[in-house]
């Protein structure tokens, strides 16, 4: 008998006795759960007969106390409770994992805000530093054909430009089909189906062509720039370049930027062409506008500057994408997790910057009536 309920006229006592330890866990469980507890009384817990209590035993004492609480039976220890019970009680009362203090939390929030601000200032400074270094290397490269690294630029034009042609062409075609189709449905209500030509040609040439291309390239090449350079960082290859007296900005960053500045406008022209083609095909299939009529209407819709208004943006977007990708790549330190985080960041930031720059272009074009 490990636990007994003794009741006399004056008082109720629960006597614990014997070995409350891991070996007797089977009988402990049965007896503790089987004991019938009268509700709303006061009971004395008496552990004087316990020969031995380990943490398992203490845990069953807690289980029993929880049952007493459920029956709203109050209890107190006769004499001192066993030390293991006290230890468990004590450990659970103090949570060593967290603060749990409102005042400290407030302090922490302010501390974090301060840190965040300082980090932002620091990262702004680093970004400016990086921009300045690109400028310095560019000035040096302008003086010598060799520092431009034609071979390296060619490779990046091939990888970022030529290899991206199929996906850029396909997506430009499909998006312009979608725009034309929705436009046709709406414009039909007013009998102005022919204005689908205006809609497609102006939106593709001014905005959609260059924007779609930039976003695809940011996802394709921006991420690969960050990952390539990041892995080189992890392998100490970038440090090795520095140790050999080679400036990483010159060999890794500049060829990628210049390569993309060449590749992105070319891709944009292809996207423009495929977008117009998509609009023309849809107009012919759905609205019955023949190709030559489409061409005539398009000439009326476009002003001489429409095509250039889109294309001018391409080199700017290229610089943004390539600079962000290489910058984030060079920031990779110590761990592969950093590599993933910074690659993601490179893509997200370059798409954001491209859209921001596009918005600025839109306002400027509006102001100068371009």
């Amino acid at each position: 008998m490990l636990i007994e309920w003794l009741s006399t006229a004056e008082e109720q006592t629960v006597r614990l006795s014997g070995a409350w330890c891991a070996e007797s866990v089977g009988s402990l469980e049965k007896e503790v759960d089987a004991l019938v507890i009268p509700s709303a009384v006061h009971v004395w817990l008496d552990a004087s007969q316990v020969t031995n209590m380990d943490l398992t035993g203490a845990w069953f004492v807690r289980r029993f106390q929880a049952r007493l609480d459920q029956c709203s039976t109050s209890y107190s220890w006769r004499g001192t409770p066993p030390p293991t019970v006290e230890f468990v009680q004590h450990s659970l009362e103090r949570d060593i994992g967290s603060d749990g203090n409102g005042h400290r939390d407030g302090l922490r929030a302010r501390e974090q805000l301060g840190r965040l601000t300082l980090n932002q200032v620091e990262s702004l400074r680093e970004a400016l530093d990086f921009t300045g270094r690109i400028g310095a290397v560019l000035r040096r490269a302008a003086g010598s054909w060799r520092a431009l690294r034609a071979a390296s630029i060619t490779r990046h034009v091939y990888e970022a430009g030529l290899l991206a042609i199929p996906i850029v062409a396909l997506i430009a075609f499909l998006i312009s089909v979608i725009v034309a189709y929705i436009g046709a449905q709406e414009l039909k209500q007013f009998g102005g189906e022919v204005f689908v030509v205006d809609l497609v040609s102006v939106s593709v040439l001014r905005e959609l062509g260059v924007l779609l291309t930039s976003i695809i390239v940011a996802g394709r090449s921006g991420s690969s720039y960050a990952a390539e350079i990041g892995v080189m960082q992890l392998n100490e290859e970038v440090d090795a370049l520095r140790a050999m007296g080679v400036d990483p900005v010159e060999v890794l960053v500049l060829p990628r930027i210049l390569g993309l500045v060449l590749a992105l406008p070319l891709l944009t022209v292809i996207a423009d062409a495929m977008g117009i083609a998509g609009g023309a095909v849809l107009s012919w299939l759905v609205l019955g506008i023949p190709f030559n009529q489409f061409a005539v209407r398009m000439q009326e819709a476009l002003s001489p500057t429409t095509f250039w208004a889109g294309l001018i943006k391409a080199p700017i977007f290229a610089i943004l994408i390539a600079a962000v990708g290489t910058y984030r790549g060079l920031q990779v330190r110590d761990s592969s997790r950093e590599l993933g985080r910074l690659t993601t960041q490179a893509v997200v930031e370059s798409i954001f910057l491209v859209l921001l720059a596009d918005a600025i272009f839109a306002v400027v074009y509006w102001e100068i009536d371009f």
Binding site: H90, I96, V231, A240, L241, R242, A243, M244, G245
Partner: protein, 284 residues
């Protein structure tokens, strides 16, 4: 005999004439945030020697290396390499100076998209206008020196750890530097490759008239290889001397490091509050 050599080496190491010293650090301190990594460290590297910089992990060896190559600048004190104060050099002067020093990274740090041959040729292509025929011959002689002329067409991913380290060594000497810095050259090598790299370091040092600086924590290898060694502990020089002198050094920190003892000034436990009190939740 040994003593005579030790004395002359010590004289060499403490000599202050710029002609004899390739590198000199004077009272250099460096800290990150509030944590001081190097505290008033001074050392000098005599020309033509193999100098070891040893010490337990986390005592600032890597920081020291970065200071020596000018990747970071000291907070105070001077780093003088080949007569030039690194802190006063412009970026382009620094890059020029780096052409005179070779550096061997822990894992070789070969450029992974270039073949062994192209890796070794890379510094030549970057810094010189040599005709291709001459580059080929220079590269082949350097590869021959490390015994990997036959591996010229392999890619870095096809090399074993020891081979990659040797290719990196060939690349480090291809510009005929005046001194060569090794970062943990023995880490992760099997005994055969280790012996090979050790003999190579010594042979290259003596035949090419280099000055070698080896940062490592492999006590046994350094004892065989180094002419003179510094033991770093907690950001300062704990001891210096020939390997024989260091083995007999009575300072507790040096004894613990050289003999690999668990008990000593370098504690197994990172500083922490009292164990029992933390478990009881009395301190955090």
């Amino acid at each position: 005999m040994d003593n005579a050599i030790n004395t002359s080496l010590r004289n060499l190491a403490t000599a202050r004439s710029p002609a004899d010293l390739v590198m000199r650090l004077e009272d250099v301190s460096y800290s990150v945030g509030n944590r001081a990594i190097l505290k008033g460290l001074s050392l000098s590297i005599p020309r033509g020697s193999v100098t070891g910089v040893m010490g337990p992990s986390g005592t600032g060896k890597t920081t020291l290396l970065r200071l020596m190559t000018g990747q970071i600048n000291a907070d105070s004190g001077r780093v003088i390499v080949a007569g030039e104060d690194l802190g006063l050099l412009s970026r382009s002067q620094l890059y020029t100076l780096r052409k005179r020093m070779g550096m061997l990274f822990q894992n070789g740090a070969l450029l992974t998209d270039l073949s062994v041959y192209e890796n070794v040729a890379y510094p030549l292509r970057e810094h010189t206008d040599l005709p291709e025929a001459l580059i080929a011959r220079v590269v082949l002689t350097k590869l021959q020196a490390v015994g990997l002329r036959g591996a010229a067409d392999l890619m870095p991913s096809e090399l074993s750890g020891g081979m990659a380290r040797r290719v990196a060594l060939a690349r480090a000497i291809v510009m005929d530097p005046e001194f060569l810095i090794y970062d943990e050259p023995f880490a992760g090598l099997d005994p055969i490759a280790m012996g090979m790299v050790m003999r190579l370091i010594r042979r290259l040092n003596d035949t090419l008239g280099l000055t070698s600086i080896i940062v490592s924590h492999d006590v046994a290898e350094m004892a065989l290889l180094a002419d003179y060694a510094y033991v770093l502990n907690a950001g300062a020089i704990a001891a210096q001397g020939t390997p024989v002198e260091l083995a007999g050094d009575p300072t507790p920190a040096v004894r613990q490091f050289m003999a690999g003892l668990e008990e000593g000034p370098v504690a197994f436990h990172y500083p922490a509050p009292d164990y029992a009190q933390q478990l009881l939740g009395l301190v955090r």
